[in-house]
Amino acid sequence: MGKVKPGPLARRPDNSAFKQQRLPAWSPMLTANTVLPFFYFMALICMLLGVWLLLTVQSTEELKLDYTEAGTCNLCFEKRKNVSNAAQPCICTAVFNIKKAFKGDVFFYYGLINFHQNLRRYMDSRDDAQMVGRKNNLKSPSSYCMPFDKNKNGVPIAPCGAVANSIFNDSFTLSYMASSGSVHVPLLRKGISWYTDKNIKYRNPSTENMTLPQVFEGTAPPLYWQKPVYDLDPLDKNNNGFINDDLIVWMREAAFPNFKKLYGVLHRANKPFVNGLPAGNYSVEISYNFPVQYFRGRKEVVLTTLTWFGGQNHFLPIAYLVTSCLIQLIAILLTVFWFKFGKNGQNMEE
């Protein structure tokens, strides 16, 4: 604040550009020679993008197999309707045929239809502090997990919550019916979860010099599980506890009721799978555990090849092409209107 000048003009505000609202500025206006070229340019860009993406997506192959009641799985489907059979295993087989060989890396997903992992109370029912390995949360899970925080004996559940409780527990074995007989298709079951999930978001409680089962002593497995959390993967002891890949993949809730989650990647070390999956007949042997009739859902298996753009989703390329056509049409319309009515400001007389 400057000195207050005495006199009749003492309280005049400053004559600065800021206070007198005269700041230098750019005043854009929608004129024909900016808008029309812009529309034509955007139409061109969208067309190019649409064509490029369409070509990319067309180069992927995808196969979906709904196995809820396919093949011999209808027997298992009936068996799983009765909840007292939950502990009994049920193996079934479904067959499918690949017409065109899947070249390159092949990814094996399991999919669920009509399972709302995005329900609010379902999504709240988890304890991230417990799953990052904090010891006090291990024995006293958060109240958000209720009623899946303690079992009927009052023992705390690890991992607590409805999300962990409802883990997908079907397992799959893929076989290729080659001319020489049935060949087992090897699937890599590691590295299916995000790096940040596997290494930071989910950690086992520190073991010091205990074994993993000892660390989890005093906790109980979730109500619907058949195995405790430290024994989820008997083959790989680093894949047990909260850092089990399948558990991590399941805990990453899907946004929509129809989703698919990664189960494994084709192991391409040996013939005949060096270049991907050859064409022919395949059978998948399923250990059928997950009951879906309660929510009128379906289960499926998805095999797909990928590009940098992702899986086989035609929406974005087609949307770009449609948008490009629309923009082109509008641009032509606007050019016509401008030419007839507004050219050289002929409509701008007052």
Binding site: A25, M42, V132, D197, A254, L306, L316, A319, T323
Partner: protein
């Protein structure tokens, strides 16, 4: 009335104390109305329309998501985004627009008083304008939900891992939303000062900075249940899939607005469009803007009308004597240029001062009468 104006003066300060605005001379009223009042109306209406638009769009997306989440009131966005949306990401740009926006500058506002008419007719914000804004929000929210939904619900990352999960979808939708409302703001703003530009770009940068910070490992390890979105930004924003979806939503949200406005400028331009066109033409061909001449207010004697305790100057006015050009300037050989008028001259019969306090100049080369005929042409038959 919308505002009360008091004139401070020798009669006292009572009017000043009870009014909304006060100043010392009547002539300031013109500037108050035509420049500041008009700008204020414009800014308020733009602010209101845009504010309703951005919040309705933000909210309607939840309506569409409800059909897909079993109507369980799950939010589409990250909770931190919901908190910071109105507080940080869209607060300053809107503030900038409602403080600095001008459609034409003050000189033009002053000289084109017909620009004041939209304010009188309540054109910029009415039930109709609000309804149009709500409709626009509805359309934007549909684009902002369904395009990401269709693009993402059945796809995966380039390396096969998940990208259709709730957290990635939330991040995608909130980024699309922010881009769409920011571009809409850029279309609304018609006066881009450095401050405005800084606010707009800074808010976008702030969004990415805050998002990456909150989705970082450090914040998660500090409080896992408060920052559950760890890793989402890093894992989904490196997918070209996501950015192509953001581009498509922005295009689909913005181009209809541009089309609609451009079409209306061509077919039925408003008074604002016409004046702004004139401004551009004047800037392009730098002729001085037509100056209103105050020469016609020659007689300072008119200021005597208000004093009713004296007989007044009625006789003087009706006699027309004050309109006569003084003898001195007549013999200088100036030709009568039509609408030339008498200037102030110490030999003339004016009372010796002019109401505006400024010398009344005789340069009358470029004079134009506006359609409102605010100033009457005085032709002097006696010259």
């Amino acid at each position: 009335a919308h505002i009360g104006v008091g004139i401070s003066g020798q009669e006292g300060m009572q009017a000043v104390l009870s009014s909304d605005y006060s100043f010392a001379q009547f002539r300031f009223l013109q500037r108050l109305l035509l420049v500041h009042g008009r700008w204020s109306y414009l800014r308020m209406c733009k602010f209101l329309r845009y504010f309703f638009y951005k919040n309705f769009t933000f909210t309607f997306v939840h309506f569409w998501f409800a059909f897909f989440c079993g109507f369980s009131a799950q939010t589409v966005y990250d909770e931190w985004f919901i908190t910071l949306y109105n507080l940080v990401y869209t607060a300053l740009p809107v503030l900038g627009m409602s403080l600095f926006d001008q459609d034409v500058n003050d000189v033009w506002s002053f000289q084109q008083p017909q620009l004041y008419v939209p304010g009188q007719l309540n054109l910029y914000f009415s039930k109709k304008a609000f309804f149009k804004c709500a409709l626009h929000s509805c359309y934007s929210s549909m684009v902002l939900f369904f395009i990401p939904y269709a693009a993402m619900h059945d796809t995966v990352r380039g390396d096969g891992k998940d990208v259709a999960d709730y957290q990635s979808f939330a991040l995608l939708t909130q980024t699309c939303l922010l881009f769409a409302v920011t571009i809409q703001l850029c279309l609304e703003m018609s006066y881009w000062t450095a401050v405005n530009t800084f606010f707009v770009l800074g808010s976008l940068v702030m969004y990415f900075a805050v998002t990456f910070t909150m989705y970082s490992n450090g914040m998660f390890l500090m409080s896992p249940s408060a920052f559950p979105f760890i890793g989402t930004a890093r894992n989904s924003l490196n997918q070209p899939n996501i950015w192509l979806t953001i581009l498509l939503t922005s295009i689909l949200c913005v181009l209809p607005v541009v089309t609609y406005r451009f079409l209306f400028i061509q077919l039925c331009p408003t008074i604002n469009d016409k004046i702004m066109f004139k401004v551009r033409q004047a800037k392009a061909s730098p002729a001085p803007p037509p100056r209103r001449t105050r020469i016609r207010r020659t007689s300072s004697r008119r200021s005597g009308y208000a004093f009713s305790h004296a007989q007044g100057y009625g006789d003087l006015v009706t006699s027309g004597r004050f309109l006569r050009r003084p003898a001195l300037s007549r013999s200088s050989g100036l030709t009568n240029a039509g609408r030339t008028t008498t200037g102030f001259s110490p030999m003339g019969r004016s009372a010796g001062y002019s109401p505006t306090g400024r010398p009344q100049n005789a340069k009358v080369s470029d004079v134009e009468v506006t359609s409102l005929q605010m100033y009457r042409t005085i032709t002097d038959p006696s010259l």
